[in-house]
Symmetry: C2
Subunit: 336 residues, 2 copies
Amino acid sequence: MVRLQDVAELAGVSPATVSRVVNAPATVHPDTRARVQEAIRALGYRPSRVARRLRVERGSSALIGLVIPDLQNPFFADLARGVEDHAQREGYTVLIGNADEDAEKEARYLEVMRAESVDGVILPPSHPASPAALELAAAGTPLVCVDRRLAKAKVDTVVVDNVRGAYEATEHLLALGHRRIAFIEGRPQASTSRERLQGWQDALREHGIDPLPALQRTGDSRQPSGGALAAELLALPERPTALLVGNSLMTLGALETIHRLGLRIPGDISIVGYDDMPWAMALTPPLTVVRQPGYDLGRQAVELLLHRIRDPARSTTTVMLQPELVVRQSTASPAL
Amino acid sequence: MVRLQDVAELAGVSPATVSRVVNAPATVHPDTRARVQEAIRALGYRPSRVARRLRVERGSSALIGLVIPDLQNPFFADLARGVEDHAQREGYTVLIGNADEDAEKEARYLEVMRAESVDGVILPPSHPASPAALELAAAGTPLVCVDRRLAKAKVDTVVVDNVRGAYEATEHLLALGHRRIAFIEGRPQASTSRERLQGWQDALREHGIDPLPALQRTGDSRQPSGGALAAELLALPERPTALLVGNSLMTLGALETIHRLGLRIPGDISIVGYDDMPWAMALTPPLTVVRQPGYDLGRQAVELLLHRIRDPARSTTTVMLQPELVVRQSTASPAL
DNA sequence: TTGTACGCGTTATCAC
DNA sequence: GTGATAACGCGTACAA
């Protein structure tokens, strides 16, 4: 390993000067600088970010932590990509963890983030009261919650207007003439799930329809649960004529069930999915969805985090992005 | 921040003893140990992994680097998940970078990995001769290539038998009676693309069919290119009766084109995709695909890497996993 | 403008 | 079994 010291010796200067050439080139004489830079190239010197971080006060490790609930969920993959792209553009590297929707794993990763002295952390908390997240924030590590909220904590937050997303989807179905509209909810611990549930209920009530508990099912945000819950709903004596599914993986499960039962979309049943995934257009019929700006969510989270890192005293902000109902062909008026 | 020193003072012992309690508890007297542990809890002490890494010889940073070509490609998301899961289980954290199929970004991330003193790196190289990867390996950093190969380098490698995957898919189509089978290739820089091309050619030739250049198109592994190339192929005077697409995103693009042209699957055209994604079964008709064990690929890569870290002198190994043709309903005999 | 000297938090070595 | 001490690679007062 080539050290600062080695460069200094080759260039015939002190280690301090080499450090300056690396960190504040303007403060060193052009001739010296050139000599040092030459030595750096000759030796292939790479500064150790580890040693640097140990010495320098917080806020310059050029590392940010990202704890993702599920990397295989395409929505979070988009979000991670947004974080990654923007962070990289700003000179930061991302230390990523996969929490697997598990509060314990989440806690473990947040520990690692602290132990690695990251400059800040971006996190969709597994739970609105995630103790690990609260503790991290209390310890003074800059934290941005993204997609999901942390209740009772003053933290920067980037979310999507979930109530509105579900509301508009439901209203779209109501406008088509549906009355029995079922809702499949994701993991209830995630703040997003409850908000979407709220949107569904609000829309129904405003149209004088009671959101029947029988038409509301709660899953775990994964594919199999979407399939199983859709099967339950479609076996109801009074079958719903439309389905709103609160996440993309569960939507896939529901679609499988619908196909398995030989039902036609939208003839027998209309369906609105959550998250506009690349495959939504390739389906037959193309899927009507609530599109969420996953990539932008990640991008904005990085922005908020960097602001916070640069100005810790800054007042906390919440950014709310808008979802968009994309009407395709999986929704139509119900058969009479 | 609570330091080792603080704990030592509270417990009335030397820093060295605290370090022992943390790293080799057996070597310290039970009473002392208890007192120290109590102090650790009382103060909420967390060892700094940064300081530890500075002091300790390579191989114990508990960090491994993973540079992914595209996090939004579900295949790589699976792979990343496999890496992440297994690494975590072994006590390692993953530092992840998104190279965006760009050799320069790849190089930048590999630099960061070195600067962070990771114990090793897992990488699907952007190119079989990626200079950054070769340099990293030459510098002695444990490296495992996954999914894609690095030519002319003695590195541990985990790949899928791509020749065979494409061969079997093509053979399946031949067995159904197809003769004009087109192939849409992914980024030609990736070793996987060339291997799949090879498999397609081999199968055709063995059945006495010339792999016409007109039926072979080269894309960039992204969705739009799949759509555009499918459009070219389907506009041919002698239209192919079957399509083999070398990656999942391009498959989606091709499906869109097929739908847009109003062609029926498999009546007008059969299609085999690469990668068995969650949505493959939700399509109408469900998609015949070559399934790749993305998760296992990641898992095995970690295993190889850890072996290498623990025994640097070990001879290099290559693990080849087998793909699996999953026949669903997007392939059938061609119309006469 | 440049060099000297110290410290960041930890672990390894050597005494005791 | 435990403590003092040096060292890991770098940044930064402070002095020159």
